[in-house]
Subunit: 509 residues, 2 copies
């Protein structure tokens, strides 16, 4: 069985080759295996498809900001709903809404156990809204080929349109449920977390609060060092062992040197078990390894998980153990292979690896457009200390690539114009409330996150050992105490928002 | 000399004929006569054109929300600037920005003496930004014929685009002035006041506070009775004298009856001094009178003013005095003419009135598009008690007119989706700060205003005797104490925002 990179890994490669397109925001939510849904939840959600939700579609406006009748197109936006636990409109029971990311909403839904597990105690209605242009929420008649055909159709893919979609859908849904007074709390991880935070900032009349998990809303030009992402990965590995760090740091030269020797390519192919059919060079091998280190750092969860491939608990530690192991002696290539296998072949079922697999099972392709227009997130710079080769992140390289590929010019300052970011503490302290910013410091995206509590109602929760939106995942028996504490704190804060809302509601009426 | 209706009055007429287009938002800022600028101000602004400001242009993005390169057009946006009083970037001295309304920005600027008069003590930079599609800020090469040619060009005329314009321009201006830390306070009256309030809500990272004067942000469907506008006008006249109210209320039947009698039209023409050239009927005469009552109610200022025509102090009182006067005996038509003359001919220079004058000296025509798309403000309903004939406001009539005229369908719920409005106190209390909502209760637009203080930092200032954004006007020696108090309170609140901002700035750095 050959295990492919899959689309999101491939796309990340370009991170390292300049001039390149940085696919900064590859989603890193592990795939949720249906078997992991607890039996109790399955039973309680017996009315739902897949045991978790029912699928619905909403007729959504394509262009919220232009009233030209020729822009009056609509499209079918998918959302998933679970009303098993809902306390109902009469009780003004809450509605938990996931603000969908750049991919198939089912994938994110299945990885957001936190909402399912807390719905019963909150008596919450669960709604997961798919982001336009992803999954089944494709404008232009649902025809992806048409929707992605050119920049005039892709032009409708943007974060502001997506937020307006969410507002429109939520307001309509509440009206249809006669639940206008039910408080809405939004949830999201990664880009979905950014959208959740921005949604609370921009649409406080629609959502009373937001849990923004691993949302790098500060990961924009002028706000963050382009090196920070790789610095955190470097630190993740170095924290396990100095030797592990050094072996990986030295691997790039080692692979290049090996490839240049007679028979070197064959040696690399054999050592790393690259499938025979692949026409591979040192660059693609290096990319394959980088992806392993990056994704493992992001998903360095404290319990076994199943992302694209199954992973053990604390996989970075496992990788470094493989590198530090005496079994492979001084064979650094064998050590690297053993470490990469933690990510690519933890089950041991893979016979060889296919570096050319461009499949995109989670429908993430639209991010390329977003990364060429508004999502100019400087990721990929590496300094001298970096575990990756030294490399300067370049806006010009991004712009040049986007010009070449789409004939589009990025708007690098649009996100900070529209949503802010500069002096965020000073600004939000006086103008916003009811947002939880969760970040795990093992997560390379945490460098662009809000890490300091801003006010009583703008709370940063920082988990030193946490990875990318680990808090949103289904719980497991092996969860460490700190993770339980994080979730408990989040639940308590959300409960306080809802309680305050109900107080406000009563005192107003 | 014939005095014409001018565009904004004509457009309001349709308010009363169903099916009709309601030009809800005719701006009601009196024209500011340059002679009224105080000599001191003129002297201090010696570097400015017109004694008040210099004119500049900014290359603005046409479509902030669509990154399609074909939408990458720009246009020249006009703004007026006065740096005479500015304390400079080094002192982080404040920047006062007027968020332009639906018309020529010079007109609004010249009517916003409040900003000029307070700039010296605040050491504030003054900036007045023109709203896209108005005045000289015309997209598509500045060619109004092209910009207004059809719905595909007019599609870019919307409040969300305008707010994004303001954010973009302000951020760029501050950068160019090396004044990124200078606090910005936004000001606006009427639609400009709505934009100021919404700007603070949506762009708190750009503006630390807003003075939203006579901003009917609640004048939307489902939030307010469509009768409220006319109810307030009714109350204005009735508060002066019951007879005055009754004479005007009875005038509509009287005019119709008179017109139906032999020689009746000629009698009306003579009595109301309608110019001979006009082909007029009772409908146009009634519209002409309605406009007089409406505009006078809006601008029922405590001091003499000069709107489209000069007005005495308390003009509603003057109109009722004319009606109640014994000079005209029982001649109700003569009484109505005398009252209308307070608005149309206070100087006594007009020999006859031209009802067909469609001129639009303040470039307000674009509001028609806005009123057919997002600005569905229910105005014009009249109940039994109304000074105007009973009439039910009809969304369907508006939609039908817009379909006929533009082939466009209004989006009646868009504004409340985007900016909120329902349960505004409950929402803003927890999510916003630093907005002053001024309303004068004589102003018919006050029915859609925020009239209750929401929190310590969301302050409603209600002046029982005030009219449409009277607070923003240049002060005069005859200003009553309540108006002085209102302005003083506003100045103190704005000073507290700036002071808090500077404290925040210091404690952060």
């Amino acid at each position: 069985m050959a295990i492919g990179f899959q689309f999101i890994i491939i796309t990340l490669f370009s991170l390292f080759s300049a001039p390149s397109l940085t696919f900064a925001f590859v989603p890193i939510l592990p795939r949720f295996p249906s078997s992991a849904v607890s039996a109790e939840l399955k039973q309680r959600s017996h009315s739902s498809q897949n045991g978790l939700y029912r699928t619905k579609f909403f007729t959504q406006i394509l262009d919220h900001f232009n009233f030209n009748p020729q822009s009056n197109h609509t499209f079918q936006q998918r959302y998933l709903i679970n009303d098993t636990f809902w306390g109902g409109a009469k009780n003004n029971a809450p509605i938990f809404v996931y603000t969908g990311n750049e991919g198939n909403i089912e994938w994110f839904t299945q990885n957001t156990g936190f909402m399912f597990e807390n719905a019963p105690s909150f008596q919450a209605l669960l709604v997961f809204i798919e982001h336009r242009f992803y999954g089944k929420s494709i404008p232009f008649g649902g025809n992806k080929t048409v929707a992605y055909a050119n920049t005039s159709t892709l032009g409708y893919l943007s974060s502001t349109q997506a937020l307006a979609d969410y507002a429109t859908l939520i307001i309509d849904l509440k009206k249809n449920l006669s639940a206008t007074d039910s408080p809405v709390v939004v949830f999201g991880g990664s880009y979905g977390g950014m959208l959740a935070a921005w949604f609370r900032m921009k649409y406080p009349h629609v959502a009373i609060g937001a849990l923004a998990s691993s949302a790098p809303i500060l990961h924009f030009m002028g706000l963050v060092s382009p090196d920070i992402f790789n610095n955190i990965i470097t630190q993740d590995f170095r924290s396990e062992s100095e030797n592990c760090y050094k072996v990986i740091k030295g691997s790039w030269d080692l692979i290049d040197d090996t490839a240049n020797k007679p028979g070197g390519m064959e040696l690399l192919r054999k050592t790393f078990r690259i499938c025979k059919s692949d026409d591979f060079g040192p660059g693609s091998l290096e990319g394959w390894l980088r992806a392993a280190w990056i994704y493992t750092a992001m998903t360095d969860y404290p319990t076994p998980s199943n992302f694209l491939n199954p992973l053990p608990a604390y996989p970075v530690k496992k990788m470094c153990e493989a590198i530090d192991s005496s079994v492979t002696g001084n064979n650094r290539l064998a050590k690297l292979h053993a470490a990469a296998s933690v990510y690519y072949n933890y089950t041991g079922k893979a016979r060889c690896f296919d570096l050319d697999d461009n499949s995109d099972p989670h429908d993430l392709g639209g991010w390329q457009w977003q990364a060429c227009t508004e999502m100019i997130m400087p990721v990929g710079g590496s300094n001298k200390e970096s575990i990756f080769p030294e490399y300067e992140w370049s806006y010009e390289a991004r712009a040049s690539w986007c010009d070449f590929f789409y004939n589009v010019q990025p708007r690098p300052h649009w996100i900070t114009t529209e949503f802010g970011g500069h002096a965020i503490e000073r600004v939000l302290k006086r103008s916003a409330s009811n947002i939880i910013f969760f970040n795990g410091l093992r997560d390379p995206w945490s460098g662009g996150g809000v890490l300091k509590t801003i006010s009583k109602t703008l709370v940063a929760i920082v988990a030193k050992k946490g990875a990318h939106h680990v808090d949103l995942r289904f719980s497991s028996k092996e969860d460490p105490q700190w993770l339980k504490d994080v979730r408990k704190l989040e639940v308590n804060i959300i409960a306080s928002w809802i309680s305050q809302y109900h107080q406000d509601l009563q005192s107003n009426s």
